[in-house]
Subunit: 388 residues, 2 copies
């Protein structure tokens, strides 16, 4: 049911093959000193780094660099970034990369002037920002996290073996995001498909909740069908612009707060996946695919009608003459087939989980209560064992 909520998403999205041409215009509104944040340096190989440096120089901006953001950005790295931002008094943070780079940039933007320990404030106590925020913009090179149009920021604390996300408010959302599907072509195949599953999981973890009639669920069924269709094309031909542009757009709308409106959300696959990530440093999307089927089979009895609807509306399972259990299981079988075809990790072992890690991962898993079943730590262990 669509009860009381507020929707406000001021991020400006500039989409398409020519979108980078707008970067200069967008940056006009901000000061001179730009902190350029990026990952492992692939943007130098692809030539994107040079293009951006040249745009920034044409606009008369001074650039302070902060490269080397890792796939699961750490609290240690965040402390470096805070220092760079503060000491250079940067006016704007330009994140060039995927979700990790944007998540990290948002964390820097709210931490640089934070007077407390930002890990404790944001990722343990989940408090609101009370200090100056440095505005962030993004040039997206890898889709999946939706970080380009939301307030999400996931940071890993290696010392505490914790990977935790904070969802910040609109004042932390990127001011603009440049979405050029062609910039995602160079991503290695495995990273590409992991991103596809991250998107799918975002949608599913908002879909599998509630027993009401909610427009958000219909929108999500549309997004899922478009994603499955386009992913099948992109897996065979990663430079199919139509497929990659649809997927880029779906990724943004899957996690920019729209489809969660009026719903509770589950997020247990992400919680388990993030705990795995903190232990194994495996690719985020693969940690999700590795545990998803075991998780959904486990919670199916608690949300049977929605699993039946999912099987019929998303996977085209013909319900005639079948009982609910059969229909729902056939839906998950179709999903499994799609996942295997796509080349996703189908077991936790594939992403580096060993039996002895399981108690630790289960303890590190944050238990959320928005889905069909509130799990116990023992149940998380059971699901992990099942997915080995």
């Amino acid at each position: 049911m669509l009860g009381n909520f507020v929707y406000c998403n001021p991020t400006k999205l500039i989409f398409g093959p020519d979108s980078l041409n707008s970067l200069g215009n967008e940056l006009e509104k901000y000061g001179k000193k730009i902190m350029l944040v990026y990952g492992g340096g692939s943007i130098k190989k692809t030539g994107l780094y040079d293009k951006i440096i040249s745009i920034l120089s044409e606009c008369g901006k001074t650039v302070v660099e902060d490269g080397g953001v890792m796939p699961n950005p750490t609290y240690e790295k965040l402390k470096e970034g805070m220092k760079i931002a503060r000491e250079n008094k940067v006016d704007f943070i330009l994140a060039v990369g995927g979700g990790s780079v944007i998540d990290y940039s948002k964390a820097v933007s709210v931490s640089a002037y934070c007077e407390e320990d930002p890990w404790e404030k944001y990722f343990v106590r989940f408090e609101d920002v009370s200090c100056k925020i440095i505005p962030v913009g993004s040039v997206l090179t890898m889709v999946g996290t939706g970080s380009e149009m939301n307030g999400g920021s996931v940071i890993t604390n290696r010392e505490q073996m914790m990977k935790v996300g904070h969802v910040f408010g609109e004042n932390v959302f990127p001011k603009f995001s440049i979405l050029n599907p062609e910039l995602t072509y160079t991503l290695p195949h495995r990273q590409m498909v992991a991103g596809f599953y991250d998107i799918m999981s975002h949608i599913l973890e908002q879909y599998f909740s509630g027993t009401d009639d909610n427009t958000s669920d219909y929108i999500m069924e549309g997004l899922l069908k478009s994603l499955i269709h386009s992913a099948r094309i992109a897996v065979k031909n990663p430079v199919d612009y139509e497929a990659r542009s649809n997927i880029m757009w779906i990724a943004t709308w899957a996690l920019n707060t729209l489809v969660a409106k009026g719903k509770t959300t589950d997020w247990m696959v992400h919680m388990i996946g993030q705990a795995i990530g903190a232990y194994t440093d495996a690719t985020h999307g693969m940690t999700l695919s590795a545990v998803s089927l075991a998780y959904y089979r486990y919670i199916m009895p608690y949300g049977m009608d929605k699993f039946v609807r999912y099987a019929v509306n998303v996977w085209g399972v013909n319900p005639e003459g079948k009982d609910k259990q059969t229909i729902a299981e056939q839906g998950l079988e179709e999903m499994g087939k799609f996942m295997r075809e796509t080349g996703l990790a189908m077991t936790a072992s594939e992403v580096g989980v060993t039996a002895d890690m399981i108690p630790g991962i289960a303890r590190a898993t944050l238990i959320m209560d928005g889905g069909y079943k509130v799990l116990t730590t023992e149940e998380v262990e059971e699901i992990l064992l099942e997915s080995l």
Copy 2:
């Protein structure tokens, strides 16, 4: 295909039964003098007027009233509103009503300080705003137009028998819109269902274009299915909160620019409907339903594959063993059944069109080129005759 486009929609939506409580907070950011715009006075009968006056008074605001906005707001009325806004130097326009009231308020906001004739500038030459814009906010009491989260403004020039819409940029979008589904309960049944069809038509006129694979089409199929489902419930029980809240939400997302991204758009049903409205002053949604089936039957051969997809994905037509034509026609038959059940006008005669008006209406119909077939004025006449 999702080519180059910009998406930016900064309107803040405050949704739900308690949403009016946020009005005071939202108005804090603006000056003291509020221009309160409303329609025929039904908000006085329902008590909403008193509630709003009391909130404004508690916030220390001064109120300048501009009531009596008619269902198809006229250029003559607009001139009155411009004068009120300018002479009272209002800081903010609060629109309380449906699409007409919000459309009118936006027109006042961009015209009050316009140094040329605003009809000529905006509704004939379709120019951008170059003067000071008075910010607008809305409290929605009737759904359908999507005006609460877009830049659309439709004004009727009685003298010229023209009803024309201008789509303004983000700087004209309402700063906030308060969406309380319960405020829509008191609307007369006929107005309610006319609004439902307005929503459906908005979606269809963006859906029926292109032959590509576009995520927007999948989202629209979801919105249509949710709308059809909820409309069937609301027709029987207009105070079903779940149905009315879903419909309110669908209306906003059907026309806030999202689903048009990457697509061309048709809008011929609206163009014909608006021309009828200028002649008959009939309820907007009814002018659309009156001509829709004749229009879609006419263009079907030019966009056959999409009509087949529509029949199967939206109306659940079983395509097995049938040719395209049959599937597509069965889709429109199902749509017709739904429209009759809903109590919509099914012929142009029902909304006051007579045979002698047809040449004039056809000439007053703006021909658009985004759909499957660019019509001639003769073809518009033919469609109007067919729909009599």
